[in-house]
C-alpha cells in the first residue's frame, strides 16, 4: 500500500499558523510579485468562488471591503513548514518520496499487520498539533489510487481527513465517486475525449478495453488505467532525478514598457536558472527566452515573442543574457508595446 500525505491549502494554512486572525475568513496567498491567487482558503473557494490563478485586480474590491484577506507568498516560511511536516511523516512512514512542496508519497510495505486507518489518523493529528497545518491522507495500492483516495478524503471525509482504499468494494465505490477529470494523470483534453465516448467517472474508465485505452491515450493513459486497476506502474522515486529542463519565469509587478528593466530581469532569471543548473551538475545546450504581454490585456494588444538560443557546445550558462541578439529581440518587443500604446 502507498500513502499520499497532502497539506490542505498549504500556503494559506502556513500563514494562519502565525496569524490567528486569518483563520475562519476567506483569504488567499498571491504568486510572486502579487500577480494572482495561488493558494486559497476553503471560504475563498466556496463563498467567493475565487479560482486558482484569479488575478489580484479581480479580487481588489473584495480585499478592500474586508471580505477577503491576501498575503504575498513567503517561500522561506513554506519551505520551513514543509521540512517540519515531511520530517514528522518520516518518523511514522520512513520510505518517503517528497513529491512537491505540499505532498509526499510513502511506501507502506511492511505495515500489512497494522491498522492503517488508525496510523493515518494518529499521524494527521500529530502533524496538526506539532505544526498547526491540517493535512489529508489517502492510502491505496498504487500512487494513482492513493492520490484518488486523498482527493476523496478532502471532499467527503473532512472530519477525519483520512481515506484508506484496501478492499475491492471500497475501491469500486471510490472510482464511481471520482469524475474522470479528477483522476491523476488524465488531463483536460483526454477528459473531453473520454466524456465523448461515455466515460464520466473513473469506474467507467477502468471498464474500457485496455487496447482501446492504449489507442486513444497512448502509453501514459494505459499506465493510469493499470494503476487504477491496482497494478503498480509508477514507482516510488526516492532520489529526484535531475531536471531535464529548468524554467524561471515571473510576471512583472507593474507594467513594463522599457528595455532596461526587461534586460535586468532577464539577466537575473538566467542567473537563477544557471544556479539551479550548476546545483545539479548539469550543462545546457539550449536556452529559450520568451516574454509576453499580460494575459489580461485587451486582445488586440496581445503580443508574445520567444528566442531559441542554441549553444555550440554545452555550457554551464555563462551570462548569455547580455548578448546583442537578445537585446535586439527585446527592443522589437518594446517597440511593439509602444506602438500599441499609441
Amino acid at each position: 500500500m502507498l500513502a499520499l500525505i497532502d497539506s490542505n491549502n498549504f500556503y494559506v494554512s502556513a500563514e494562519r499558523v502565525f496569524q490567528p486572525e486569518l483563520r475562519g475568513r476567506a483569504g488567499c496567498v498571491l504568486s510572486n510579485n502579487d500577480g494572482c491567487a495561488i493558494s486559497r482558503s476553503n471560504e475563498a473557494k466556496e463563498e467567493l468562488g475565487i479560482e486558482m490563478g484569479t488575478p489580484y485586480f479581480a479580487m481588489r474590491e473584495q480585499q478592500q471591503s474586508g471580505v477577503l484577506w491576501w498575503r504575498s507568498s513567503n517561500y522561506t516560511l513554506y519551505q520551513d513548514m514543509m521540512r517540519r511536516i515531511t520530517s514528522i511523516v518520516r518518523k511514522t512512514f520512513p520510505d518517503q518520496e517528497i513529491y512537491s512542496i505540499d505532498e509526499c508519497f510513502c511506501d507502506l510495505q511492511g505495515y500489512q499487520y497494522h491498522d492503517l486507518q488508525q496510523l493515518a489518523l494518529d499521524l494527521r493529528a500529530k502533524i496538526l498539533q506539532y505544526t498547526g497545518v491540517p493535512v489529508c491522507i489517502g492510502i491505496g495500492p498504487t500512487k494513482t489510487l492513493a492520490k484518488l483516495a486523498n482527493k476523496l478524503a478532502k471532499k467527503h471525509h473532512k472530519d477525519t481527513g483520512v481515506l484508506v482504499l484496501e478492499e475491492p468494494a471500497q475501491i469500486q465505490d471510490a472510482l464511481k465517486l471520482t469524475e474522470i477529470d479528477d483522476v491523476w494523470g488524465i488531463g483536460p483534453r483526454y477528459a473531453i475525449k473520454l466524456i465523448k465516448v461515455g466515460v464520466h467517472n473513473a469506474y467507467d474508465f477502468i471498464g474500457l478495453p485496455e487496447d482501446f485505452v492504449l489507442k486513444l491515450m497512448t502509453i501514459q493513459g494505459r499506465r493510469t488505467y493499470r494503476e487504477l486497476h491496482g497494478h503498480r506502474c509508477i514507482p516510488m522515486e526516492y532520489d529526484r532525478p535531475d531536471k531535464e529542463g529548468i524554467s524561471t519565469a515571473r510576471s512583472f509587478g507593474t507594467m513594463e514598457t522599457e528595455l532596461a528593466p526587461m534586460e535586468e530581469a532577464l539577466a537575473t532569471y538566467v542567473a537563477n536558472a544557471a544556479l539551479k543548473l550548476r546545483a545539479q551538475n548539469s550543462v545546457s545546450a539550449r536556452m529559450f527566452v520568451f516574454c509576453h504581454t499580460s494575459r489580461f490585456a485587451v486582445v488586440k494588444d496581445l503580443y508574445s515573442a520567444g528566442l531559441d538560443v542554441q549553444m555550440d557546445s554545452p555550457l554551464l550558462m555563462i551570462p548569455l543574457c547580455s548578448s546583442k541578439k537578445l537585446s535586439l529581440h527585446f527592443e522589437k518587443f518594446t517597440e511593439k508595446v509602444h506602438a500599441t500604446e499609441k
Binding site: 490567528p20 486572525e21 516560511l77 517540519r84 520530517s87 498539533q129 506539532y130 505544526t131
Partner: protein
C-alpha cells in the same frame, strides 16, 4: 502592539559549545580536566522535538515573576500538552499572549505572573486556546544589571 513575535527555529547542526563538566556553584570550584568529551549544542538542549519547536520574543511584562522580561527569547514547543503551571503561548481574540496555564478543579485559567495584570478565566464568553508550551526562555542577564544594582543598593543602605 503584539505581545509575542514568533520566529522559525534555525537548522540543526549548530556550533557546539564546551560544557563545564561540573555544575557551577555560587562559589568557586575547580573545573574538571577534560572538556573535550562533554559538549553541548544549545539548539539540542532546548529542543526535544525540532519539528514542533519555534522561537518567539515577548514584548509585554506579564510574566516577569517567572523571570521573563521584554525582548527575551522564548522556546515554544507545540508537541507538549500543557500541564497546570506551564508557561504557554495562548491565543485569545486572535492574538498571541504569554501566560501560565493553571487548572483549579474544573476551572481553567491563563494566569499572568505579574500582579498588575488580570487572570483570564475560561468561560462561556472567554475562549482561549493554547498554541504551544514554553519549556525554556533565554534571559539576557546583562540587560538586568540595572535592576540588580538597584536591589543591591537597597540592601546596602
Amino acid at each position: 502592539m503584539k505581545e509575542i513575535l514568533i520566529y522559525e527555529r534555525g537548522k540543526g547542526g549548530g556550533t557546539l559549545i564546551p560544557l563545564f563538566a561540573e555544575k557551577i556553584h555560587a562559589g568557586f570550584e575547580s573545573p574538571a580536566a577534560d572538556y573535550e568529551e562533554a559538549r553541548i549544542d544549545l539548539n539540542d538542549y532546548v529542543t526535544k522535538y525540532p519539528e514542533a519547536t519555534f522561537f518567539a520574543k515577548v514584548t509585554g511584562e506579564c510574566m516577569v515573576g517567572s523571570g521573563i522580561f521584554p525582548d527575551d527569547l522564548l522556546v515554544v514547543d507545540k508537541s507538549l500538552t500543557p500541564a497546570s503551571g506551564d508557561i504557554v503561548v495562548g491565543i485569545i481574540d486572535n492574538e498571541f499572549i504569554l501566560r501560565s496555564y493553571f487548572r483549579k478543579g474544573q476551572q481553567e485559567y491563563l494566569m499572568p505572573d505579574n500582579p498588575y495584570f488580570k487572570p483570564i478565566e475560561r468561560n462561556e464568553s472567554t475562549h482561549f486556546e493554547i498554541w504551544g508550551v514554553l519549556p525554556h526562555s533565554i534571559l539576557d542577564q546583562r540587560r538586568r544589571n540595572g535592576a540588580r544594582i538597584n536591589r543591591f543598593e537597597q540592601l546596602l543602605r
